[in-house]
Amino acid sequence: MKDTVVARPADLPPAPSRPSLRERWARRPPNLEFLVGAGMLAVYLVAALSALVVFWSSLDQLPQNVVWVPLENPVGPSSGHPFGVMAGFGTDLFRALWQASPWDLGIVLGILSIDVFLGFFLGAIAGLDEGGLVDAFVTFVSDSLGTIPTFLLAVVVFAGLLAVAPKAVGLPVFVAIFGIILWPTMARTVRERARIIAHQPYVESARASGASFPHILLRHVMPNAVGPVLAQVPLDVAPIFFVLSAFPWYYNCQLPGGPPVPPGSPPIPYLVPSLPAFSPLPSNSFPEWGYLLGFGTCEGFSFPGGFNYWWMYLFPLLAIVGLGLALGLLCDGIERWRHFDR
């Protein structure tokens, strides 16, 4: 190919220069979903970074005020406390959520990056090299691990590690475990798409012209297999916060019939937020949205209908759902933008 160089005819108009960013923006502006999602995510990032600066000295401890602890007439949303007060915890909810934002953003981003890195890479290789060793591995592992509900596997793995090394196991290990548990689902959906792409004419012709496996993978398959990743990422936020919130909720609520307390253990004092046996959080005053949501849902309701301190569960819920929605809008926006679909 390179041995025949054709001279450019002189009468052709000059080749267009690469469009500037402003021109490209004008030709193909990002859609509303992308902008809204990116804006929401930026708010979360600003909150997390400012919390790092403001609360740096005691980032992992929520201050507890004894005055706010009782459940009788807790302070609701007001000018002094815009999100109200989390009774039981005895802490201002706005400050708690703000202080928790770097932790939660770190948890979510850490888990999702492990998940995306492994799932995207292995899934694309498996789809491209169909029937190969990686394909067999990915299919077998994702089929087998896919039979266990995510929350169950996460809890069981974490509890097992906790039994061996209670000192060494903490939040980073939880993040690693969760990322490793989530990747097979991601790999499976990516593999399906990559399998289709691997049989497209442009991949066939690249292969015929001698392109190497890594080149085809990185240049042709992976950029075109982003779709399933973008669809899966916001969904993977849900099980993370389910595990972080459901077990504190259950444990603190002391539902009838459970949890059974081991004989000889001291009675769990009412209204002190407590962590279940396998919680990844280091202490019971750790700022974390899921924990706050679980505790707030438990203490915010008096079933049936005696009182309803709605702010105690609504604001943590909004923080969690907002983060998921921001990721969802951003991913949907990118996906539609890729397909010239405004």
Binding site: T150, A159, A246, P304
Partner: protein, 377 residues
């Protein structure tokens, strides 16, 4: 739909005849393989199920039993650890699942599971049809429609639904229903699929066909047993409670299903035969409900098979939210929160069997509906 053209069957009249292999309809009968392509595929998958079960059990052994063994065993006897795995495999496959240590009844897990599983099956039998009736048209319509007024709200609502923890939704529903339920049935909507204990105390105590206040006789399914024992009011309450919980399960599950199913409906929109039919003036409604709906059904079934564990997770959480003490999810939550991991291995073993067999069945149904999918398997 997604099949590479070179792997399609050489004979268009017999699309099920093992594409990708060398035999065609021109071969003499003696050269034909004994089993058809679908049967061979089904057999291969069925034979793989025990291997996958052993693999799942190995993972569980590594994460549950091995750490405790390592923490307790002195280093010189570590060589015996692999024997522990084979012992565990033997126990699991022979039904020797140990005894519940912390429940007041001190029953073997097999017996407890036999009490706890039927109410959960009753809930699933109600929830799955509701979920199907909701998920199928919603996913199809939202994926099909080009109008942002249909797709965008559907995506927004379902993503929010997937992100809301089910127990919050359950608690809200419980609170909303409480007083109307108390007025009408003299009962509360929580506390399982049977009437609450105070209902029984107000109506002459527990009947003899209910053991331990939750395990019903003779079938174990609360609704069926109430009907068999002519307890019509109990049956009506059980029916209503199951319906409420099943609706919450269905709504939460549809949110998960939708995200996967929508892109399938979207890809069908651009298929050549759809575009061709549209150019011939076929109405959009016919295109959607006659042509596209038929094309997406196999893929929807596969998505359903893939999300069965997620469905189970949702149902477990709803059972806990509704204080469904007879439910399987409640048993699991109650044991997990205290760090009791002994029921996890038999539980996951059961779930894995259900999911793997179910995935195989659904896969075969999907192949029956769309034989092109056999290529590349």
């Amino acid at each position: 739909m997604t099949t590479p053209p070179e792997k399609l069957s050489p004979n268009p009249e017999s699309p099920t005849g093992s594409p990708g292999s060398s035999e065609g309809s021109s071969l003499p009968d003696s050269h034909r393989p004994v089993l058809s392509g679908v049967t061979r595929y089904a057999l291969r998958r069925a034979l793989l199920i025990p291997a996958q079960l052993v693999f799942v059990l190995l993972i569980l052994y590594i994460v549950i039993d091995l750490p405790t063994a390592l923490a307790q065993t002195p280093p010189e006897s570590l060589a015996a650890l692999d024997r522990g795995f084979f012992q565990m495999l033997f126990n699991i496959f022979t039904g020797n699942w140990g005894t519940a240590a912390y429940l007041k009844y001190q029953l073997p897990w097999t017996q407890l599971f036999a009490y706890y599983i039927p109410p959960s099956i009753q809930l699933a039998v109600f929830a799955l049809p509701i979920a199907a009736v909701l998920a199928y048209p919603v996913s199809l319509l939202a994926g099909w429609s080009r109008r942002p007024g249909v797709d965008a709200p559907a995506r927004f609502v379902t993503l929010t639904g997937a992100l809301l923890p089910v127990f919050v939704v359950g608690t809200l529903v419980l609170n909303a229903l409480f007083f109307s339920y108390l007025d009408y049935f003299q009962d509360v909507p929580s506390q399982g699929l049977l009437p609450a204990d105070f209902w029984f105390f107000n109506h002459g105590g527990y009947p003899s066909w209910i053991l331990y206040q939750f395990a019903t006789q003779p079938t174990g399914f609360p609704l069926v047993d109430a009907l068999i024992n002519h307890a019509w009011t109990v049956a009506a309450i059980s029916f209503t409670k199951t319906l409420i919980q099943a609706s919450v399960v269905a709504v939460a599950y549809v949110a998960i299903f939708f995200r996967h199913a929508r892109s399938i409906a979207r890809s069908v929109r651009e298929e050549v035969y759809i575009v061709g039919a549209r150019s011939r003036g076929i109405s959009e409604r016919t295109l959607l409900w006659r042509h596209a709906a038929r094309a997406v059904t196999p893929s929807f079934l596969l998505v359903f098979a893939l999300t069965v564990p997620e469905y189970l997770g949702v149902q477990f959480a709803v059972e806990v939210a509704f204080v469904d003490q007879s439910g399987f999810g409640y048993l699991i939550f109650a044991s997990l929160t205290t760090g009791e991991l002994s029921p996890v291995i038999p539980l996951v073993f059961l779930i894995a069997i259900v999911v793997l067999v179910w995935a195989l069945v659904v896969d075969l149904i999907a192949l029956r509906l769309d034989p092109r999918g056999l290529a590349g398997r």
